[in-house]
């Protein structure tokens, strides 16, 4: 089955209680929004987390991306709050 790896960082990782999972994705690829809708429908904790957390960022294959961008099988997807380095 076509899948992607999903990573969670910082407060998202902590609140979900996991840092990594695998999810099914359409073989021809689909938008982050589309994939995320499917995940949220299956997982009420994830749904609640995205509902209460503003400004979640997404990266595809270790580069910042937008929720409209396409995720393809084998991609590494990551969700995290705004960055606070330096």
């Amino acid at each position: 089955m076509a899948s992607v790896t999903i990573l969670y960082f910082a407060s998202l990782r902590e609140q979900l209680g996991r840092e990594r999972e695998t999810a099914a994705v359409a073989a021809e690829g689909e938008s982050v929004t589309s994939l995320l809708s499917a995940l949220r429908a299956q997982d009420s904790a994830l749904n609640a987390l995205f509902e209460r957390t503003p400004r979640i960022r997404v990266a595809i294959n270790q580069a910042l991306a937008s929720f409209q961008d396409t995720v393809r099988p084998g991609d590494e997807l990551a969700f995290f709050p705004p960055m606070t380095g330096g």
Partner: protein, 149 residues
């Protein structure tokens, strides 16, 4: 000459500056910024820095390359620590070397402004009473980064 490190260990300030200084005879100015854990009088004990291994290095190398091209740098060093650091400990070192002072000074400000909001680091504060909280991103930092667009 770009040097990017993400490490748990502290860095050698004098050694890093000497490295920039000796890159070539054409170096006339070296600018450095170092950020450290600031005590805020509210019982902060330590910061724990989490990052996104792989992406962090890519972003920092990209920023160093952008700074080098934009400010004609001869050398550019970015070192960011991860893990737990107590009040007073260094977190980040940005150093640039150029022929003239203006380029190095500007490049250092550019790098620290951009990496604050563009590199995948997250700070979690731990207080002496055991409480921990994730640091909220500051709008002022987004504004500072955007000034370089």
């Amino acid at each position: 000459m770009i040097r990017v490190l993400v490490q748990t260990d502290a860095f050698d300030l004098g050694g890093e500056m000497a490295r920039l200084s000796h890159i070539s005879d054409s170096v006339g100015g070296i600018s450095v910024f170092m950020g450290q854990v600031r005590g805020q009088g509210d019982g902060l004990e330590s910061l724990t820095l989490e990052h996104y291994p792989g992406m962090t290095e890519k972003v920092l190398i990209g920023l160093a390359e952008e700074a080098t091209a934009r400010f004609s740098l001869l050398g550019c060093t970015v070192i960011h620590r991860v893990g737990t650091m107590r009040v007073g400990e260094p977190i980040v070192f940005v150093g640039t070397a150029s022929g003239h002072r203006a380029e190095a000074l500007q490049a250092t400000a550019f790098l620290i402004d951009r990496l604050k909001t563009g590199a995948p680091f997250w700070k979690c504060e731990r207080f002496t009473d055991g409480r921990t909280t994730w640091v909220e991103a500051r709008e002022a930092d987004d504004d500072a980064a955007a000034l370089w667009d």
